[in-house]
Symmetry: C2
Subunit: 530 residues, 2 copies
């Protein structure tokens, strides 16, 4: 083991930050914000304590609607600043010491873990439909560093390495289809970085398959974009639009690229996952061949597909609001937080006993629950804190609740009194059913809200002028398109928007290209994107 | 997404390997072996089919003791060749396209996954003993690549990044102790590489802690080496020797390094895990300070500790034999393989029905079981294949077994008839109890065997001559030592052996340094190592 000593970095780090931490300015200059020590709202010295109004402690938590903590920039005021504030304050990630890198913190990593496991089960399920298909977890490792004789590249994606191995592993049609899948880190030299959305190094899942026929590869590429679509809708509550990329936007090396495009809260598009039909492009380059049933050597047909930690950014920017993060229950590391409320020492024992009994009940039912019974924070502080962390449901238990054998439940997605229900019985079967029901409600309500938002921000356009106007308004434009690459690049240059996809769901009837007036077979969606 | 195009690498890959694959030489020249396509023993074209003797199919599997497949170099003949053969043939890993890298295959990765999850539960458990301690999963990401202004290093270990973050996260004694843990990949520029043991890039678990006092840090460092020791004994069945490194062998940047040292089948030592008390070395370099209870600023006291995919190599080289891999049941991805035996089509249905009923019974009991009912391979081929893969137990079910409602069970660690038991009832409660019992037996028998081997290869020495003799015989030498760094380096130069550790378990009574004759407080263990 060798110690890493980097005097240059060390000197950056040693600038003492104590003073800055003790009295953080209300809003840091944006440029420096994440270079400076992350603001720690809700510490003893921060303004957050002010949130705790005197009414707190009556078991009704009225405070939440009152004076708001302003450490998070309002979303409507500056979407980018809001995004960075949420990431810092919900403790999802910090900037790393190297430009363009981030350090994913445990809470952010827990979301990524939830994302990991759910699509994996899909992959497994889908894979089992294919005879002889093994959904394998392989980890490809490639050394970084450099040798003088030969330049090495730190893995930006693994098609080349995979093909090298496929060439060794595939001999005959009996070895096909072959699938490998890895959860790995990759590195891209990005100039404009943004946490979770675009960083020098990020985590992703990448799958690679090889098939005996073009048809099978096409089916696989489509199947995987379906898996991602289903995951986005059902788990992340993000109503993505699935479709095919234009030739200009197709992955270099792919015959066809399928994509899911999500609309963020600022109406910019986020490419949230892709699936590529690689045809024989890589197999021809690498000589990845198999002997078919007639004894002939043929090149394999391939696909690759990936989703990355960028999806975490997509969740933040789809559901988050001025109170911070808002997590879909399916992916929330904590689905329910329980906060005790008591004033007199004599009330404490009863409340805490009820608290742990409720916790056990919910845990036994498979609900991810957390108690915050620390004495150092007021209930009002805790309400705000877990709202900012995006926990979908909050249970409050005070002395009156203990007497009546009930609890108070608040929904994160419905602020204030409207989202608050009193007097729900602590009786296990009642409570569990109620909580599960509410989690489902939050989940569907998030999807519904995002779908409404998306649909109200997609404009059907029939001319280039209409397209320009829609884009200028910050919306997505959907219109018939059969023009060429040059026209597409012209749109990009003049409006900043690109073709996000030709959606799979197409309107019926004859169409005329919005640019050329020629007949068009499909509509395309244009939007500015991350 | 950007395609990685590396013409230099591509040209290496495209050399067609089809011919070589079709008729592999019995043994490849060692140097080229893993550069060439991995030999695929047990394919239709290989010599492995010869193993299947005519007796196969009678439900008693006598073949296994007969003509042996010689694709694996005997361990006694060439330990290194044997090691590489096992890795290739048990499909644990292949060499990657870049010198010194490997591609971990699903079976090898499954072992690493088993290693991951078990120590994690230990870590969690230990951590919960410490008030306020959070066993967090943080993933530190650092961009590779290079900027012209500033040289970047691809992460070889994360102390520097961790300290950068700790400096932001730690303010007062209330923030301590702090623990982060990550499962990540790291890169080292190694000249002499060997799969799992030393590769340019490898996977590991690294933990980092910060404490308010020197005592707490020391306690933590010791606690973690205990966790690793317990894991090695109880899960990997490797009787490691735990102790303290000499000053010469201490991790650069640490005050003290604790280690677990394992004896491989060739009697070389493998450093299988380390835990460092870092003192205030890093916190002083990075200015990682906290305000103590008296309002004074102090530097934190730190530890770090790691185990890596090297542990997989340790398992192979501790338990493997001439038949291939031998996995301890606790870490085996497949604990029991079930092989059906039938000759006539009329027998098939009965056998396969019994097979899946036995599988369900075992699975329901939490046993990791796999059926191999493929028609393409004979039972004899399968016996050899799963022995090579190190599966601890095999169940055979033939028509006679179906009639009698029993199965045949073979232990991987006891070859031939001795390890084979007939007539075990298929009745679920009987079978499950029997299998669990046998798995426990295999587990303890592996540990016992390795312990006996270890102890018979450690020699107590009282002079430098005795030490030299022991090392020359390929053994470990244990003797009193109080000499200086220079003498230690002299031993290394003259014998090739280093001090592996001052073991925690020390003989009682007065001692005299084997080198200087001065009084010594401790014995040290000397050995050649990986």
């Amino acid at each position: 083991m060798v110690a890493l000593r980097l005097p240059a970095l060390t000197s950056i780090f040693t600038s003492s930050s104590a003073a800055a931490v003790r009295s953080p300015p209300a809003i840091f200059p944006l440029k420096n914000r994440l270079r400076l020590p992350i603001r720690r709202p809700f510490t003893a010295n921060s303004t957050a304590e002010k949130v705790v109004a005197p009414e707190v402690g009556d078991g009704k938590g009225k405070v939440v609607d009152k004076e708001k903590d302003r450490v998070i920039t309002p979303r409507s005021q500056d979407f980018n600043a809001w995004y960075l504030d949420v990431i810092a304050n919900a403790e999802l990630a910090d900037y790393g010491p190297v430009r363009g890198t981030m350090v994913i913190r445990p809470y952010g990593y827990a979301i990524w873990e939830a994302i990991q496991f759910i699509p994996y089960s899909f992959i497994e399920k889908e894979a089992s439909h294919v005879e002889g298909f093994s959904p394998e977890l392989a980890l490809v490792t490639v050394g970084g560093g450099k040798e003088l004789e030969e330049k090495l590249v730190v893995r930006p994606t693994s098609e080349t390495i995979v093909n090298h191995m496929f060439t060794q592993w595939i001999h005959s049609y009996r070895d096909l289809p072959l699938m490998i899948n890895q959860w790995a880190n990759v590195t891209r030299w990005e100039m404009r970085t943004k946490p979770f959305i675009r960083t020098l190094e990020f985590l992703w899942q990448e799958g690679h398959t090889a098939h005996a026929t073009a048809e099978e590869a096409e089916k696989e590429a489509m199947q995987m974009i379906d898996v991602y679509t289903k995951f986005a809708y059902e788990q992340a509550a993000i109503p993505v639009i699935a479709g095919r990329k234009s030739r200009v936007e197709t992955f270099a090396g792919a015959s066809t690229t399928y994509t899911i495009e999500a609309m963020m809260g600022d109406r910019k598009a986020l490419q949230a996952g892709t699936s590529h039909n690689l045809g024989q492009n890589f197999s021809r380059a690498f000589g990845t061949q198999f002997t078919d049933e007639n004894g002939q050597r043929q090149h394999v047909w391939q696909t690759s597909w990936a989703i990355s930690t960028r999806f975490v950014g997509g969740i933040i920017m789809t559901h988050g609001d001025d109170s911070g993060l808002l997590l879909p229950p399916s992916l929330a590391p904590v689905q329910v937080v329980i906060v005790p409320i008591w004033k007199k020492e004599s009330e404490k024992t009863g409340v805490l006993t009820a608290l742990s009994s409720v916790k056990e009940t919910l845990q036994a039912a498979g609900i991810k629950v957390k108690i915050d019974d620390s004495d150092q924070r007021t209930p009002g502080w805790k309400f705000n804190y877990y709202e900012m962390k995006g926990v979908p449901l909050r249970i409050e238990i005070g002395p009156r609740d203990v007497s009546s054998g009930t609890v108070v439940i608040s929904r994160r997605d419905v602020p204030g009194k409207q989202g608050k229900v009193f007097g729900i019985s602590m009786e296990p079967s009642v409570l569990v059913a109620y909580i599960k029901d509410k989690l489902d409600e939050v989940q569907s309500s998030l999807l519904e809200r995002a779908t409404t938002f998306r649909d109200s921000n997609i404009v059907d356009v029939y001319s280039y002028n209409e397209l320009k106007e829609a884009i200028a308004q910050g919306k997505w434009a959907r219109g018939p398109w059969s023009a060429g690459d040059e026209e597409e690049l012209k749109v990009k240059e003049e409006t900043g928007a690109t073709i996000r996809c030709f959606p799979f769901e197409q309107p019926e009837g004859p169409k005329k290209c919005l640019m050329t007036g020629n007949s068009a077979e499909e509509v395309a969606i244009f939007a500015k994107s991350y």
